[in-house]
Amino acid sequence: MSTATWRLQPDGRAPIPWVRRGVVLLVALGWALLASPLPTSLQGAGIAVVGTMVAFTVGLDAGMGWLVFAPRAKRDERECQLRDRAFQYAFRGLALGILLQIVSHYVATIMGGASYVIPAPFAGGARGLVAVLLLLALLPTLTAAWLMPTRVGDYPEIPPVPTRRSAAIVLAGTLAAGGVIGIWLLAISALPVRTVTLSQVPAMNVASAGARCGNFSVYREVGDGLGATVALAVDVCWNRRGAWIVDPGFISPNPYAIPKQPQPTNCSVSADSTDFEMVATQVCAQQGHAGTVRMATHARVSPGLSGLFERTIKLAVVIGAKGRVIHLG
């Protein structure tokens, strides 16, 4: 048997159990943050949480001499037993984790007053999916690290961790986290932005006397759903006098208040963030000539690296005086 840092010693003992278990608890905390419906947004820090979890777990596996993922031929009988036992606990932990995720989302949605609940793990956003994938990828290592035999009170006999091996552990963890973050950065910066447009006439939940109304929305997704999603949803009504946006914040919903001359552009700026990226948005609404309305969003989506990997997303909805869709996208 080799002398890997945390591999089983000939007497079945592995050193520094409290470090291993502490790391396991830290990773579990990170998973709970990702899997929980609260906070509703991770303020763009999601990828940092994922990277930290991967780094710690790969470091653990490296410290255990790649116990979980190494070929069976390279392990002795005790290590194979430990690995299989770790998978047994991991399977039960996986079931428990998915159940917890579902229940917590149901509870949070019902407490939030919503009547319709989408089951959490895969049908929600990227955060739920990432939480399940991390559970799948990391649990065997975490359970193996937790289960590795310990002998309380024997710490003075344990040989110190060799520096070179510690460096290898840190290097493995850093490389793994770097790899995950690198792939993610590549995805959000190189993958084409996906656009979804929806229009519905007559509108759902919007009505105005003597007028027809419609719902118009555009969604742009960065990184195939692994980054941010910028959305522009607008309800527009129109009659023979022209079209107007049903949103008091921008233009009066009262059709008789539409001025003869075009209004100056009315804009609002907001800084928002999703779980994995930060989004700075400027939304402008404008009453055009001949009763046309235009609403546009200009958003900068960035992973928060001082402008690096930043993408600009522009969305616009232009509706003609008689409800004709002039531009949607």
């Binding site: 299989d84 895969f122 997704e221």
Partner: protein, 361 residues
């Protein structure tokens, strides 16, 4: 494998009495309980029989050489669980309810049988009655189950989430419908399924004939019946003849109004059954027949049944040049346990300008 576990009754006669009592209760349920059209009596009878099977299984040892100790049989039951999970995936969201409960019951029954056939090695507590070999088998089964689950998620969920908006919408709707239940059922059943799949035949010791007790034979027969019955009834939707009731024409009002109500029903299947009704009021004036009510698009969603789902195939109404009114309503019926089997049911009506029903062409 070690000596199988069981909870033998004090006397085999007790078992006979309990089984006889159970069968008598079943017979009473099938004959007495109302709601035959909804399949309620069949469902109750099946629930009782399934419970009786589980009871008998728990009290009869699975002897080496018996039917359930054979790997082929265990693998067949594994395949049935997979089939039921696929059925759960295929059940539309608006039909979640009784159909799903039946499929889940079927999966649970298969799981209990597998557990009994493998001495419940996979689901035994972490510390307990297992010997060293069984411990190793349980842990190995969990490792294999883990990779199977990881493969399913990596192979289905990730591509569905990433490929397109449409595939993500499919994932969301599937997980809202039966997909989540299928996944939870798989998580619950995978380790026993793996043990049942990898364990070799349990052969009787060399030199012994390997005789199986009558209790063992009875337990085997009950397992076959409890698993085969729903499958047989579900298949019935596919091959049983369609019963069409005669067209009933009831005149409405006075002779001057020239209107009548036409009703007809088509039925298929027992327990897994479907019924397509047609009920319409038609008026005529000697040159043409016209629909008063009952022959519209909204009337093409009235098919009902138990443990089946429907897919409307066609719903058409037309008036021929000679004034004959024709209406066709066709659905594809899928049994919930075997949703990939479909049977077309079509009900039609043709009424001439003189108010008489004419053969449909």
């Amino acid at each position: 494998m070690t000596q199988p576990h069981g909870h033998p009754l004090r006397s085999p006669r007790s078992l006979i009495w309990i089984v006889t009592l159970g069968v008598a209760i079943l017979a009473i349920i099938v004959i007495v309980v109302p709601g035959r059209q909804l399949g309620l009596n069949w469902t109750l009878a099946y629930l009782c029989f399934a419970a009786l099977t589980v009871f008998v299984l728990r009290h009869v040892a699975i002897e080496p050489g018996s039917w359930l100790s054979r790997r082929t049989i265990r693998r067949t039951i594994v395949a049935l669980i997979v089939l039921a999970c696929v059925a759960l995936l295929a059940v539309p969201g608006n039909l979640l309810g009784a159909s799903v409960l039946l499929v889940l019951l079927f999966i649970a029954l298969c799981d209990v049988i597998l557990g009994r056939a493998t001495d419940r090695v996979a689901m035994s507590p972490v510390v307990g009655r297992l010997d060293e070999r069984q411990h190793a088998l349980r842990d190995r089964a969990h490792r294999i189950a883990y990779w199977i689950l990881a493969g399913l998620i990596a192979g289905v969920v990730i591509p569905a989430y990433l490929v397109s908006g449409g595939s993500r919408a499919w994932l969301a709707s599937t997980m809202t419908d039966g997909g989540l239940l299928a996944m939870l059922a798989l998580i619950a059943c995978l380790p026993p399924m793996v043990v049942a799949w990898v364990e070799p035949d349990r052969l009787p010791p060399e030199g012994t004939a390997g005789t199986v007790s009558w209790q063992g034979r009875m337990a085997t027969a009950m397992v076959v019946i409890s698993l085969g019955t729903p499958l047989a009834f579900a298949t019935g939707v596919w091959f049983l003849p369609i019963h069409q009731s005669p067209l009933v024409r009831t005149a409405i009002g006075s002779a001057a109004t020239k209107c009548a109500m036409f009703t007809r029903t088509e039925r298929i299947g027992v327990w897994f059954s479907a019924e397509v009704p047609l009920s319409a009021e038609i008026c005529w004036n000697g040159t043409t027949a016209r629909e008063s009510w009952g022959l519209n698009q909204s009337d093409c969603h009235l098919a009902a049944g138990s443990f089946v789902s429907f897919q409307t195939e066609s719903c058409t109404r037309r008036t021929d040049p000679d004034g004959t009114l024709r209406f066709t309503y066709a659905v594809i019926v899928h049994p919930s346990l075997l949703p990939f089997l479909g049977r077309r049911m079509e009900i039609d009506l043709a009424v001439g300008p003189d108010g008489r029903a004419v053969p449909f062409q």
